[in-house]
Structures are given as structure tokens and as C-alpha cells.
Assembly symmetry: C3
Homo-oligomer: 467 residues x 3
């Protein structure tokens, strides 16, 4: 009998002291920082009765909770079930996919509440939070889940926590530059979440390049039921994406419009994905990788423009194109990125988030530049782009230019940040596994070892093939 | 070693050019038609601020989005996860169940937005859409998902797209006749969605009768985990059915009442289903097929009457009866339909949708006929049945008669439409598989072929049993 | 070849007449009782138009439906998918977990509508129901689902229905004592749902102690995919817990605040759970049992205090502690309870519900005792604790005392009730399985027996290992 691989190795993947230390230290820091800074916003505070009178509100239904909580819960499901299960497609990395996504997101939302709070909700020395902050924290963590997709199966949980800490920080800075300094619109986060998150993750995985990764090649595939688990993630992302893109839009028509545009874009995207998936395989068979991923590109690609007057047919066009680009990406670009550029992108986030995110940023810039008072109405025009105060003089074409600048800034932040964080994660202290043990839950998880699961262990050299 | 079955056959199931062609052609048509016809409704348009003033609304919360969006998302989950996963019970057709359902629904909602839009939301040459249109499009597609259940595993994706095109069209016509010409109430669609969808699907599968289907008999069963995947579908349908039946009811009490009636009916249905499932098996064991399906009959059977004053105990009675009828149907009617009437009904939609749909239509007619001003209140009576304008003179008993007529019309449309569409689908150009390859994902999907999934391939003659 | 075990036994597990009899008898009783007692509340009744005028409401959006329906649906998902799938972790008891949970919950909500209705919604001889009653019924059933976790795999469906009948009754009495007599606040049910439900279930399982349970030891574990199914349950419980704790809080700030506190507590809980799960295993590997369960303790532990001014950092502290306590419980207390106290707790509800429930009660008492008009505002203080009418004179410290008394009452009710109900369930008439057939679906379910699932049957002595 062969010796267990991951014991005879040089690499020490034991998490026993390192992971608890990091988790407890960071949770302790969160408690202290929350204690110093975080308080309830006016709509969640027990003084709300008085607040209501002051704001001249006649009903509790005017509390922002009722405008946004259903969307918040949909976004919450996307982050934890959507991203978590989407990544369970690997035959032996389901625990890591759903479990590490859970860990990093649970940490990330706390840190995001602080970081985004300092930038956007800071009053008299306190961060005042409400349901919109919870949504934004989930959004911010979404960009980390995206980056996780690129390095799935190749990193230790500690590396993921370190990456989350830095990425949330950089995300918040980038978001502040875009939304506050450039005064850019990006309700569904094509630029701030997808473009930034994806290129950040791709840069990190490039730095962490593993030349011997083909040693775990046979674990990089799926099995029949793991593909079905992944479809749970896909469908929840797909169904709730209209909530994602509309969750923090202005009350009323903007939320309504964002949901409709996203619904249309996603529907179109499914058809073009199926078409190209079949067309690009020599026997015309559909590939689950495309169905699981490229069908979602339509949601990414209207992330910036969904709350604008993109119109339903505009959404169909954007969705159709993004489905094609994404599917073609899986077939041609991913192998190219790996063999030529040494970018090992486990989930293909380049196809699902990077390219559609860029499309989304560009479509947003064009839609903004093309806006007219005729289409939006006088009041609607000002409200949609928030052309008030210092921005009163902005014209649509100037806004379009700033939108385009937002794409560039997001890319630069992603490349620079990814390079630095990738360098940090390359340090040999974080307990990542050797190449031949990548994509394998047994490294960090207690995996059921009973006889009935033998089917899954056939090629595991840790134990004899049969009792 | 035997030769792969589906290569040595006469039937050409290759989708490489046909499927992409159909998908792209239809998506192209959608873009053109949306461009010509579809615009945002007043509540989703950027002119909403002005609209609000004209309509004398004081708050954005009066936007229909906030009345209906949570219900819309629940309905959306039912269509894509509910129907999709409910059909994953087959051991080797999970990809097809969830993937083809995804494809046909994504196409169907676009076409439904147009068809229903022309009938119901057409103003000055444009279809003006809002969240209620999205719900109705999902509803319409629901009837296609139902019909898909009858032919599951026996058709090519192109056949499904062709069927969707025609069924959505016929659905919209039937719906227009019922709601506008007969002035029938059917908020949860017992008649328009379930009766029509199920008898349409049953007629189609009758026309497509395959005499040699027992050749794939061993694939028509489930495996342990495929039954658990199916339960995900069941539970989401069951939990969200109150949202389904209340989604397009009038604001206020009607939505509230529909949800309560449906909740009660579904709860009762579970108990009678369990009772009869155990009673009808000789060792008293429960059958997952019944639990997965018949427990949902209660939702179907109050689809017409839920928004009426059916009362909670009335709902319990309807739910109890429909659970019994549906379970008995699985045990006795399904084999009868197959052996005597040559109706091969893969998912048993006759038991889950057809019979409970008829019950729903009848209960609706009776509940309408029994309505009194005493029970509804003077205003409530007029509002509940919309007895205004041309319908001012309608009495409850006349309404009951029209409701009954709605059932008959739906049946006739289903039989006639199903026969025509079945005939079209019988043409030998659509790439459906031979009988011995039905219920098998490998025909249209790339299925993971690695060694670890051998357990699932034991009887697949394409490859030797073990490496 | 060995004989099938469960046929050669003394125990008769055949449900054929007993289960149908119980189900139909009870459903019949529900119909009669609903017919006599249950009617629509004012907001779901067709007289709502008149009611609206009387209550001076200007918009349908003021209907309680729109304040609570989204939360209701989240709670509904937690009960049926959350609890149901959480318990599918066992390798051969997935049907029983999700199916029996479905059965008992569907019965329980009907009986709870009556029991809670008599106590809380009884007017002029009728129980008037609305969406809040549906939520409360789901809550009540939640406590039965918790108790089910302790006896999972060891009881017949009839025993579960009998337990549900009694437990719902006792729950309602206990809830009445706490909420109405002691005037205790417990919106998320730390005391009424978790403490009561868990100690009730633990007492029942103690009475039903099976000395030979190690005969089915090998079935008490999980397999790889059953652990993933369980994670679906975990994540839906985790994500929707903010809705659970806020579902019946006062409109406005209280609902908003409950959601935020719960969100924070749960996020912190994940980190401490991961930390201790790794720390307490000698190789530092994470254990799915902890991730599936202990990550939820944070939601339980703020169940009483979430609607109070616990503050976000307070929530982080409570969540952190409860994650630690719960994980330590799984590692040290569960084996101790089983070996020393003969408490066989299949799902470890002592760690997930009992201890965190007690923490929740205590934190609630402290938070109430520490309340000041300064923190809550004058009006907010009175509204938060409902210090009106007979309770006008209550001070925070007195309220704290009553809160503490609520914990004691819940414990006493649980122990006494559990002992009585356990005694009833011990009668040899309910058809429970012998020890060696526990945790095995084949006893009560038709399980797919085809060749492809052989992997799951390897050690099933009913049939030869291979055909």
C-alpha cells in the first residue's frame, strides 16, 4: 500500500493553530472596531418614532427596510448559495467550495461594513448602518467570491482570509473613487464588482502560477451529481440577478427598471449560450460548464446600465452578445490563458465576470452618453444621474467619459492590488497544498471515509481500493 | 465490447447546426420584435416622477414593484428551480431536466411578454411592461414546463423550443378568451395554466407515442440522490405556491387571502397524500413519486378560488381531496393511460396538473356561484369579481356558469392545440432520440466520463465496465 | 445469503393501516375544527375596503401582508428546506429526513393555527387569521423540527405525528405563559422555540433510549454528497435567520434592527466555529458536522434580544461565544450525553438549539435589564417593551427578572412535557424500527433498488452484493 500523498510531502497543510489564530484574531478585531464605530442608522434605531415625525413620514412602510429587504435577501442567497454551490462542480472539492466561500464571505461582510461605512456612512465619528449597508457589504464580498473562483482548489483557507482582508479594502477604495470622486453610476457593479473582482483574481492566480498543476488534472473535472449541485448555484444566481442589479437603485422606477432590464438580458443570454455551446462542440452536444456559467453573463453585462433607460430590446442585445462572448471564452480563451499566459482560472471567471464586466462598463458609458431629457423626462434625467450640486453642469457625454474612466481605474486597481496581494499569498507560511493535492477536500476537511463512499475514493492512494 | 448504442442508429440526434440555428434565429426575432413593440410601463419609466404627481401618489412605495416583486421572485424560483429540479428524479436525465427546462423557459418568457403584451398591455402601438408582465410571462411558461413533464426524456431540445413557441401562443389566446371575453377569474391559473398545460402536454405525448419505450425502461427509475434532488424542486414549488396563487391578485385583501387559502390547501394535501401513498402499497411503505408530486396538487386545486372567499376550512377540504385524487392517479391511472390509451406521461402530469386543475376550475365555478354580498361586503363583492362596466349586471350564478365555460374552452384549446403541435413535432427533422436512448443525458450533453463516476455507467455499453 | 434484517424481526414496522388512519383522522379533525373556528382576519377578508376606511388607511400597502409576507416566505423556507435538508446528512436517511419533516410540519402548522389562534386571535368565537398567524404557526412547528433532530432515524412517522400533536399543544401553552402572563419579549424565540423545543426533544430521546443503537453505527455517518445536501439546509437557515428573528417584530425600526443584529451575530459565529472546529481536531481539519450546525448558533443566541438595542458589536460578541460553545459541545458534550446520560441526540440539537437557546434567553434578560430611556428614546422605550396598560410601571430590571423567569418556565415545560410525551411514544404500538434498522430509509420508504445504486447498498444484507 502506497503512503498517503499529502503526508509524505514537504508542504505542511496542517491548519490546527494557524487557522484558529487568524479567525479569532480577526473576529476579535471586528468586535473592537464595531464597538468603537458601528451603530444603528436612524431607520433601525429605537428613536425611529421621533425620526419619523421629523421626516414627516406617516407610515412605518416608508422605512427603507420595506423597500430593500426582499432584494437584500435575494442578494444574500446569491452570495452564499449562488457562488457557494456554483463552485461545487468539482468532483472532490464540494466541501471547500461551499465551506470556504461561507468562511470568507462571513468574514468579508463584517470588514466591508467597516470599510464601506467609513467611506459612505460616517457621521459624527460613528458608522450608521441599515439594510442598504448590508446589501453593499454583500456586494463587496461578491467581488471576493469572484476572485475565489480563479484560485478555487489551489489555496488554503488562511490565504483566502488574507485575500479577503485586502480585497475588501481595495474594493472599498476603488468604489469610493468611482462613486464619489468620478461620480459614476454602477448600481449592479459591472465595474466595481465584476471587472475589479475578476481581474484582481486573475492577477492573483497568475502570481500563484503552479507549473505542475496537471498532476491533479483528473480532479479538475466534475461527476454527474456535482454538476447538478452546481446548477443549484447557477439557477439562484440567474433568478435573483434582477434583485442584485436593482437592490440599491433609487426607490420607485429605478428599482423597477433595473429588474426588468436584467430579466430580459438574462433570458436572451441563455439562448445564445446554448447555441454556441452546441455549435462549438464537434458532436453538437451541450457542455454543462457553459450552461452553468455563460448563462449568467447577461446579468453581469447590464450591471451598470440596468437602472438607466437601456430599454428591454437593448437588454436583449447586450444579453445575447455577452452569452456568445462568454461561451467562446470558455472554449478558446481559457486554454489560451492557461498555456500562454500561465493564468490558471479554475472556474473561468475571465469568461463569466471579466469580459462581461468590461462589456457592462462600456454599455453603461454608452447608455449614459446617449441619455436625453426627452427619454428620461426633465426630473427623471436629473434623478437618474444625480446631476445635482457640484454635478449640475454635467452633460451626458461628459458622464459617459467619466463612466469610461471608471473602467480604467477599476482595471488598474485590480492589476496593482492583485499583484501585491498575490505576492503576499506566495509567502510559504499559509499552508497551501502541493500541486498533486489541489482540488481535493481531504487536505483541509474531514471527509467521510466509510465503505459506501468507495466509489469516490477509487483512485485515492491513501487507502486500499477495497476493504 | 458492444458498440455505443446511439452511434449505430438510424436516428441523427446531432444538434450541432440545428439547435444553434433555431436559438439564434428566435433570439434575433425577439430582439427585432422587442425593438418595435416593447417599452417600459409608466411605473418603470424614468418619467415616473411626473406620473406620480399625476396619479396623486405621495410615495414611491405605491409603485407596483413593491406590491408584487417579492411574489414575482418566488414564482421565478418555482419555474426555474421548482419545475427544473422536480424533473431531475430520473437517474440519467438530470442535465436534460434542469437544462432544457432552463432553455425553454428562458425563450418562453420573451415570447410570452410579446404575446400577452399584445393582448393585455398594448397602448398606442407599444407594449408597456412592468413587474406584473414578468409574473404573467413566468405563469405562461409554467404551462409549458407542465407539458414538458409529459414528454420528459423523449424529445430533442429543438422539439421543446418548437413546442414552446406554439404553446405560448395558444396559451395567450386561451387566456384572452377566458379573462377578457368570458370575464372569468383565474388568478392562480387552475384553468389557464394547469388544465390547459397538462391536457396540451398529454395530447402531445399521445401523438408522439413510442411503442418501443420499454427498451429504456431501466432508465425511467430514480436513484437515491436523484430523488433528493427532485425534493428540492418539490419543496420550492410547495413553499412558494401561496406566492404563485396570490402574485397577480388585487392589492390588499385579495393577495393576502390567496396566500392563506393556498397555504391551508397545501398543508392538508400533504397528509392525505402520505395516507394514500402508504395505504396503496402492499407493505405500507411511502413512495417518493407521490411525495414529490401529489403533495403539490393542493396548490393547483385552489388556483382559481384562492382569491375568493373560499375560507380556510374550504381550502383544507379542497387540498385533502386533491391529494387523494392525485395519489390514486399515480397508482391506478398512469399505468392505465399508458397501457390502454397509449399516453406515456413521464412525470405523471395527469395526476399533478390535469385532474387537480379540473378540480380547481370546478371549485372556482362553485365558489363564484355561491358568492353573496353578505360574505364579501358590498364593495368587496364588486371588487372581487370585477362586476363593473359591461359586467355590472352579472350575478354570482351567471359568473359560475362562465367559470365552467372557461374549463371547457381550456380543454378544447388544449386538445386541438396539442394535436396540431404534436403533429408538427412528429416530423422526422427535429433530432429526437431512438426509444432505447430516451431518458439518457448522453444523447444531447457532454457527460463527465471520468473513472470516479463509474458507478453511474455500469450499464452503459459505450465503455467497458471497469478500466 | 443472509435474510433481510427487518423482516426477520419481532418489531412490526408496517405502516399500511396505522399511518393512513392517523393522517386521515387528524386531517378530518382539522377540517371540522377549522370549519367551526377559523375565519379570515380583517386584512384578508373581502370586507377590507370598509375596514380600510374605518382604520383611516389610505393605501393597500398598509395591509400587514406587505410588511410581513417576504419574511414569512423566508421562514417557510427555513422550516421545510432548512430543517428538512439539514437533516439529510445521514447516508441512508435522506428520504426520512426531508419527507418526515415535511409531514410533521404540514400537520403541525394546521394544529398550531388552531392552538395559537385560541390563545391569541380569538374574537367572538372565531379565530381570525392573517399572515402573522402563518408565521407563528411556522415558528411553533420549528420547535417540533428541532425536537425531531434529536430522535432522527429512530422513530416511526406515527410517533412523529403524535409528538407533533402534543408538542404543538405544549408549545402554545408555554408561549401563552411567557408572552401573555409574564409579558416577556421573545421575537425570535430563543426561549419559546429553541430552549423549549430542544430540551423537550432531548427529554423524549432520553426516555426512548436504545441501548443497542451501536448496531446501526455504520449508518450514523454521512457520505460525501449527503453532506452537500445538508449544506443546502444549513445555508438557507443561515441566510434567512435575519428574517426569522425579525418576522413578527413591530413594524419599522424593530424589524429593521432585528435583521441587522441577527446578520452580525451569524457572521461572527461562522468564524469562531471554523476556528474551534480546526483547533479541536488533531490534524486541524474542519469537520462538516460543525460547519453544518454550529455556524447557526449565532441566530439562536440573539433570538430574544435581536429586536432590542443589542447593538451590532453586542451581536458580534454573542455570535462569537455561541459558535464556540456549540462547536465545543459537538466535540465534548455530545459523546458525554450519550455515554453518561443516555441521551442519544442524532443531530446534536443540544449544541445547536439547547445551549445557544439558553444563551439567547440570558442575553435577552440582560439586554432588557440594561435598557434605558436614553438609549431607546422615551417613546421607543415604551414601544420596544410594550410598557403600556397593566405593564406601565415595569422597570427594565423587573423586565429582566421576568425574562429570566421565562427561561425557567420553558425548561420546566420542556422537561415535564418531554417526559410525558416520551412515555406515550414508548408504547409498543407505533411501529418504530429495531435498533439495527435505525437510520435506514428502507424501513418506511420504497427505495430505488436498481443496479446503478449498488454503491449505496454494498452493506445491505437484503440482497447479494452484485447481481
Amino acid at each position: 500500500m502506497e503512503r498517503p500523498r499529502h503526508q509524505g510531502m514537504a508542504k505542511n497543510t496542517c491548519m490546527r493553530w494557524r487557522l484558529p489564530l487568524v479567525c479569532l484574531l480577526w473576529e476579535g478585531a471586528m468586535i473592537v472596531l464595531f464597538g468603537v464605530f458601528v451603530r444603528f442608522g436612524a431607520e433601525a434605531d429605537a428613536h425611529w418614532e421621533e425620526e419619523k415625525r421629523e421626516m414627516n413620514l406617516t407610515s412605518d412602510i416608508e422605512n427603507d427596510f420595506y423597500f430593500r429587504y426582499p432584494s437584500f435577501q435575494d442578494v444574500h442567497v446569491m452570495i452564499f448559495v449562488g457562488f457557494g454551490f456554483l463552485m461545487t462542480f468539482l468532483k472532490r472539492y464540494g466541501f471547500g467550495a461551499v465551506g470556504f466561500n461561507f468562511l470568507l464571505a462571513a468574514f468579508g461582510i463584517q470588514w466591508a461594513l467597516l470599510m464601506q461605512g467609513w467611506f459612505h456612512s460616517f457621521k459624527n465619528g460613528k458608522i450608521l448602518i441599515g439594510v442598504e449597508n448590508l446589501i453593499n457589504a454583500d456586494f463587496c464580498v461578491g467581488s471576493v467570491c469572484i476572485a475565489f473562483g480563479a484560485i478555487l482548489g489551489k489555496t488554503s483557507p488562511i490565504q483566502l482570509l488574507v485575500m479577503t482582508l485586502f480585497q475588501v479594502t481595495l474594493f472599498s477604495v476603488n468604489e469610493y473613487i468611482l462613486l464619489n470622486l468620478l461620480h459614476v453610476k454602477d448600481a449592479g457593479g459591472s465595474m466595481t464588482i465584476h471587472t475589479f473582482g475578476a481581474y484582481f483574481g486573475l492577477t492573483v492566480t497568475r502570481i500563484l502560477y503552479r507549473p505542475n498543476l496537471e498532476q491533479s488534472k483528473e480532479k479538475q473535472g466534475s461527476v454527474y451529481h456535482s454538476d447538478l449541485f452546481a446548477m443549484i448555484g447557477t439557477l439562484y444566481l440567474w433568478m435573483y440577478w434582477p434583485s442584485f442589479n436593482s437592490a440599491i437603485s433609487d426607490h420607485g422606477d429605478a428599482q423597477h427598471r433595473s429588474a426588468i432590464n436584467t430579466y430580459c438580458s438574462l433570458a436572451a443570454c441563455v439562448l445564445t449560450t446554448m447555441a454556441f455551446s452546441s455549435m462549438l462542440q464537434k458532436k453538437g452536444k451541450l457542455d454543462m460548464v457553459h450552461i452553468q456559467n455563460a448563462t449568467l453573463a447577461g446579468g453581469v453585462a447590464v450591471g451598470t446600465s440596468a437602472e438607466m433607460m437601456l430599454t428591454p430590446y437593448g437588454s436583449l442585445i447586450v444579453g445575447s452578445i455577452s452569452g456568445i462572448v462568454s461561451t467562446v471564452g470558455y472554449v478558446y480563451f481559457t486554454p489560451f490563458l492557461e498555456s500562454r499566459l500561465h493564468i490558471q482560472d479554475t472556474c473561468g471567471i475571465h469568461n463569466l465576470h471579466a469580459m462581461p464586466g468590461l462589456i457592462g462598463g462600456i454599455v453603461g458609458a454608452i447608455t449614459a452618453a446617449a441619455a436625453t431629457e426627452d427619454v428620461y423626462g426633465k426630473e427623471g434625467f436629473i434623478k437618474a444621474f444625480d446631476f445635482t450640486g457640484a454635478y449640475q453642469a454635467r452633460t451626458p457625454s461628459i458622464q459617459g467619459g467619466f463612466q469610461a474612466a471608471g473602467i480604467v481605474v477599476s482595471l488598474l486597481m485590480a492589476f496593482a492590488g492583485g499583484a501585491i496581494v498575490g505576492g503576499i499569498l506566495k509567502l510559504p507560511i499559509w499552508g497551501d497544498a502541493a500541486a498533486e493535492n489541489c482540488f481535493e477536500d481531504e487536505v483541509y476537511w474531514e471527509v467521510p471515509e466509510d465503505e459506501e463512499s468507495d466509489a469516490y475514493h477509487m483512485h485515492n492512494p491513501d487507502k486500499p481500493a477495497s476493504p
